[in-house]
């Protein structure tokens, strides 16, 4: 299935694989970069307002985790900006002046974010507590701005507008039309909510594991409660936004929608399939709900849904089954996570405490990975679903790729390197956690920005020359 989606043998296949892999990796770190600072600030605020030492400790430790993930995310993000040229020079070469401004705006947000991350992380000691808190607020705001700018570019690739092409050259650009393209209203909130959801469940899952291992103190309960509450609020909103997005895609990109739902022929009373295998004669296996797909698109089973047969085969997205499964997994996981949020909400309403049962903790422990799977599925839906186009109905991906050979070499290196990078990130975070558990006195030397225990001592008996 994967190899029809991503043929490794060609440079195009290697380029697509490399882009998919590096983006799929970065999207996790980017989500943490957008949402984690907000949770750190919630804990910090609570710590200051209520004089809550546990919350204060959480925010200090989370800021160290933010430091690690931000540094790694900055690296993987830089790689992506290289790939715009290394992999897709025809795309960037032709449309760079159309979508580029959004990245320039993103650059400002990222710059400010990097600056305030540094100030916040290093400011714990000498800045006054509230001044320090306020140096953290710009991190959360710039994270939102950056997410808007980057996702707006992806929206534009799905709903290109705001320029004219004459003889293959871009002549007129209307930046506002580019920035506020029709896919922005649903793609941008969908991604930002996804970031909050992934971060919330992921952080909560860490403390759930700790509690399952018997560390049920207030510190752990708070570490679970803050992120899980944020995620539980975000999830139902995300469900509604996602539903709106799907309906908008049925309108804006009917072939993508047909791919997601395996709709072969344009018709009314289209059956909604849950899972199943997509073939040219319809869906094999899976659970079918007659007429429901039409109903979801237009609130009536009489709604006509465009099928893949309305365009020639070369204009259809590849790997239909993958696309369909990714969509169903995303929706399915989101539904389950809403259930987890309701569970938390119900018990909190009755007992003013988080559910202490093993099953709740187990579910929470799994929710982090589940949320990441949903995130990746969503990314597959939007990216594979847009194929064969890099700019929807305007430029094909195969016309955008570099003429340089040897992309499979860089892809192989990237695969190895990112595997090591991912492993090192996880190991680093685990080492930090273990050290926190072991050492009663805070050890502050393990942040990547690396405050050493201060300037080197003023003089040595025998200094080097």
């Amino acid at each position: 299935m994967l190899d029809t989606a991503i043929p490794f043998a060609t440079d195009l296949g290697a380029a697509r694989s490399q882009m998919a892999f590096t983006l799929g990796f970065h999207i996790i770190l980017a989500s943490l970069g957008v949402a984690f600072p907000a949770m750190m600030l919630i804990a910090n605020y609570r710590g200051l307002r209520r004089n809550d030492a546990d919350a204060m400790l959480l925010s200090r430790r989370w800021s160290k985790v933010v430091a690690v993930t931000f540094a790694v995310g900055a690296v993987t993000g830089t790689v992506l900006s290289f790939e715009f040229g290394l992999l897709w020079p025809e795309f960037t070469g032709r449309f760079g002046d159309v979508f580029g401004l959004l990245f320039a705006i993103e650059g400002i947000f990222f710059f400010l974010e990097a600056i305030f991350v540094a100030i916040y992380i290093f400011g714990w000691k000498r800045l006054s507590p509230w001044a320090h808190f306020w140096t953290g607020v710009p991190i959360a705001i710039t994270g939102l701005g950056g997410a808007f700018s980057v996702v707006a570019v992806n929206s534009w690739m799905n709903q290109p507008q705001g320029y004219t092409l004459s003889n293959g050259e871009v002549t007129d650009v209307d930046p506002l039309k580019v920035i506020f393209n029709p896919a922005v209203p649903y793609e941008v909130p969908h991604m930002i909510l996804a970031a909050y959801l992934v971060t919330g469940f992921l952080v909560a899952s860490v403390y759930a594991v700790g509690m399952l291992r018997g560390r049920r103190d207030r510190y752990h309960r708070l570490g679970l409660l803050i992120p899980l509450t944020v995620a539980a609020i975000a999830t139902p909103i995300q469900f509604a936004v996602g539903d709106t997005a799907a309906r908008a895609i049925a309108d804006d990109q009917p072939i993508k929608f047909a791919g997601m739902e395996c709709v072969q022929e344009t018709s009314t009373h289209v059956t909604e399939y849950i899972f199943g295998r997509c073939t040219s004669d319809g869906v094999k296996g899976g659970i079918g709900i007659p007429g429901f797909d039409s109903f979801l698109v237009g609130w009536s089973t009489d709604t006509e849904v465009t099928g893949l047969d309305s365009v020639p085969p070369e204009d259809r997205p590849p790997a239909n089954t993958l696309l369909h499964w990714a969509f169903d997994m995303m929706v399915g996981i989101c539904t389950l996570l809403i259930g987890l949020g309701l569970w938390l909400g119900f018990v909190w309403w009755r007992k003013r405490d988080i559910p202490q049962t093993k099953w709740f903790l187990r579910a929470t422990a799994l929710s982090g990975v589940a949320a990441i799977v949903a995130l990746e599925c969503g990314w597959i839906v939007t990216e594979v679903g847009r194929q064969p186009w890099v700019v929807y109905n305007v430029m094909r991906t195969k016309d955008a790729v570099t003429g340089a050979s040897g992309v499979w070499v860089t892809f192989s290196i990237v695969l190895v390197l990112y595997t090591v990078l991912g492993a090192a990130t996880v190991v680093t975070l685990r080492v930090m956690a273990r050290r926190w558990r072991r050492v009663e006195v805070e050890d502050d030397t393990d942040v990547p920005y690396g405050p050493s225990p201060g300037a080197p001592p003023a003089a040595l008996s025998e200094g080097p020359g």
């Binding site: 204060m56 020079p89 580029g100 320039a104 290093f122 090192a424 680093t428 300037a455």
Partner: protein
């Protein structure tokens, strides 16, 4: 000056900042690499860690800035450079990944065997990235990057005398700027031994960088005539300025003065970068693509200038704040916030 020229100037401003601040960072990695083991090496590395910690991330955002302005303002040039320069730019990116990870993890790794590996990676990649970026600049200056998707030679375009020399020049210049910065930082840390240590290294780097720069001029003469001719005419005042700044740094270092060496060292680098810019003008890719022909749509160019203006208004004060706090040692060692109690978990 046309809008496109203004955007090119913005691009050059970004490149200048990256060369100075990013360069100082790369140079610090270089010194960290060759500091060696033992007490001396440890102390030198301690100073380096202490200095670049808080500013590391922000320094490297300039690279993103340059890339984005290039592809937004001059998309055709961007596509041409990145496709023909696929190999050296992939290697530069590799260096960035290794360097960033080495830096991100070497602190945590301090208590297990990975620390030394992380430090090595950090040091080696600090050579890799500036070197390959230098080869790219050499290729552009000598007209080896034609317009089009991978239109130039994938190998000889950057594997040639001039490109290799510029690559080496980038490494040496980074080391030079960094050593000068570290002299001042050692004084701020009141570490007299390290001040002497880096003074010596700054002197050595200054001499080597000067020698490479002169050699570069000779090779430019035979291999990149367009740039050479203009560098020795319109660009001459800047070349002379750079030389004077360099000499000033040498004199100050020899007299053990630290006041003024930072601006002079920066001046030497900035003058060369703008000299190169003047020498390339009006070309983005010498004798192949002019700024005017390579420029993107006019609304976008205006947009870039507006965004740049906003960036100056927002980012510069923030950077000033960061550097001020760092220089006043307001942001460094972390400790639990004072007014509240502490509870272990």
């Amino acid at each position: 000056m046309s809008t496109a020229d203004a955007v090119a100037a913005v691009l050059w401003v970004g490149a200048t900042f990256y060369a100075v601040f990013g360069g100082a960072d790369f140079g610090a990695g270089f010194w960290s690499l060759i500091a060696g083991g033992g007490e001396r090496g440890r102390r030198a590395r301690e100073l380096i860690d202490w200095v670049i910690g808080p500013v590391w991330e922000a320094n490297h955002v300039w690279l993103i800035f340059v890339l984005v302005v290039l592809w937004t303002g001059f998309p055709e040039a961007f596509g041409s450079i990145f496709s023909t320069m696929f190999i050296p730019l992939s290697l530069a990116a590799l260096g960035i990944v290794l360097r960033g990870s080495g830096f991100a993890f070497h602190k945590t790794a301090r208590r297990f065997a990975g620390r030394q590996l992380a430090e090595r990676l950090f040091g080696l990649s600090s050579l890799l990235t500036p070197f390959f970026m230098g080869t790219v600049i050499g290729a552009i200056a000598s007209g080896r990057v034609p317009v089009g998707n991978a239109a130039g030679d994938p190998v000889t375009s950057w594997l040639n005398g001039l490109s290799l020399l510029v690559g080496a020049l980038f490494v040496v210049t980074s080391a030079y700027v960094s050593a000068v910065f570290l002299v001042s930082d050692a004084r701020r840390a009141e570490a007299a031994d390290l001040e002497r240590y880096f003074t010596l290294r700054a002197l050595a780097a200054a001499v080597v960088a000067g020698a490479f720069a002169v050699a570069g001029l000779v090779v430019l003469h035979s291999d990149a005539r367009y740039v050479y001719d203009r560098l020795t005419a319109e660009g001459l005042p800047l070349v002379i300025l750079s030389g004077l700044c360099g000499l000033g740094v040498l004199l100050l270092l020899l007299r053990r003065g630290t006041r003024g060496i930072r601006p002079l060292a920066v001046g030497a680098v900035v003058a060369v970068i703008w000299g190169w810019g003047v020498a390339q003008f009006p070309y983005l890719l010498p004798e192949r693509l002019t700024i005017a022909d390579g420029a993107g749509a006019s609304a976008t160019m205006t947009g870039v200038l507006i965004v740049f203006g906003v960036a100056v208004l927002l980012v510069l004060p923030a950077i000033a704040l960061l550097f001020t706090l760092a220089q006043r040692s307001m942001i460094e060692e972390t400790e639990r916030p004072q007014p509240h109690g502490t509870i272990g978990s």
